[in-house]
Symmetry: C2
Subunit: 301 residues, 2 copies
Amino acid sequence: MSYPDKVTIKEVGPRDGLQNEKEILDAKNKIEWINLLSQSGLSYIEITSFVHPKWIPQLSDAKKVAKEISRKPGVTYAALVPNMHGLEAALEANVDEVSVFMSASESHNLKNINKSIGDTFPVLEKVVQTAKKEHKMVRGYVSTVFGCPYEGRVAIDQVLKVCDSLFDMGISDISLGDTIGVANPRQVEEMLNILLKRYEASLLALHFHDTRGMALANIIKSLDYGITTFDSSIGGLGGCPYAPGASGNVATDDLVHMLEKMGIETGIDLDKLLKAASYIQETLKKPLQSHLMSMYNQTIT
Amino acid sequence: MSYPDKVTIKEVGPRDGLQNEKEILDAKNKIEWINLLSQSGLSYIEITSFVHPKWIPQLSDAKKVAKEISRKPGVTYAALVPNMHGLEAALEANVDEVSVFMSASESHNLKNINKSIGDTFPVLEKVVQTAKKEHKMVRGYVSTVFGCPYEGRVAIDQVLKVCDSLFDMGISDISLGDTIGVANPRQVEEMLNILLKRYEASLLALHFHDTRGMALANIIKSLDYGITTFDSSIGGLGGCPYAPGASGNVATDDLVHMLEKMGIETGIDLDKLLKAASYIQETLKKPLQSHLMSMYNQTIT
């Protein structure tokens, strides 16, 4: 019964959510939406990804979005960058922080980045060094930590190896991704038991997808282990490329609701958050799947 | 990290699920469905409710269903009874076990049973005594344990008072109901901390609705406290009368999946369970909302 007083939620809907939606939105709508998110009390918003439009056409307007949103003081506006080309664009758009990404499993890394894990390190190292020279913090995403769509379970040693390399490069914190939503609470405990012998809890975030409904349960176990940073996507936006029709990221609204009811401060105003969710579902013309949005949609019809 | 080796799941879909669905099914379909559920490895199925058809027309065929299902040895076929009249019908249909119900909050009890809590006790006492003379175990449902749609939070003392009275009558075990799906993991801990000072964990079951997505997280916390019996409804069948469109009971399939992945035995074959879920969603002509059924429906289309 010893929960933290505060938890930090990093909103990844504009990046991880939208990149998994078929619909391509206008930059104007994204900007309006991110401005609504800023007003909700979120302290960190990953607004886009500076990847080649060939890979993620949904985010081809990254620079415009980053330049034209209203920056609310105290909010960190971050963006994903795959390489130096992405980093340069992100720096030009003056994002506050950048994130790099790779997978804990070889096959997923190869499919996703088109490089082996070994070949990915030097690419990311250059990005991290350059970003740090520009006084930008760099977050590291590690995908498939709890399971890989091609390899199944991933050895914890492999996760440690990737995390060690990223921290050695100067990454500020690592987001451990349950990319395909297979993590269960016992597995989360086993993973954290080992990782927390090596890294401070404050250096780690957990990034759960809710594909099989276990995300909030996994977060509860992570809290037991002292983790206080979680990634989530408003309304549970985005799906899973490996399980079409299944849930995407854990929903920010469901997470904020649970934490606040538990007396854990998030700094986020749920009503304002639901307004931002409502805006994006109208823009996407499809009901969001989170529990809170399902209830909200009933009350307004 | 000390989880139980085994958990008992009590399937309440044919009763709690169907009574919250608009569609009224043929007895024939219910019987086929319950027979499929029996084949999945479930050890306890609440098959119907012997209440007046005026209140729950969906279950007006209680006697026919109870008499015509195939009874698999080792499976307990239970039914809800509100009073002596219901008990007599249930005994005539020879159900294995009966359940009685009341609320922890006065206003919900009054709305649901049309009696004060004080006036409900003697009615249930007669049912319990008569059932026990017939060598039937009697389960007690207590609704609104974690919150009432009319009164909000319910005092733990009120919950204790109702549980004490039910155990004094000779109830074998109590299912603590989060009727409107408001319980959060911290509240579950607080409640269990007090209840388990008074009652053995084996005498209590937890009955969560997933209205706000917290059901599996609450179950994880309940496991931490030694609870090993949970109620659930296949596919998350049934809604919430107080939040139309919202989720119903926690889904048996999502729960079985999580527990089995955690190495906790349920005795249930998930494939067979999903077949039973598939049968009922075809019969109801609407997709079930559980995470596993959402994935399952994608793979078969």
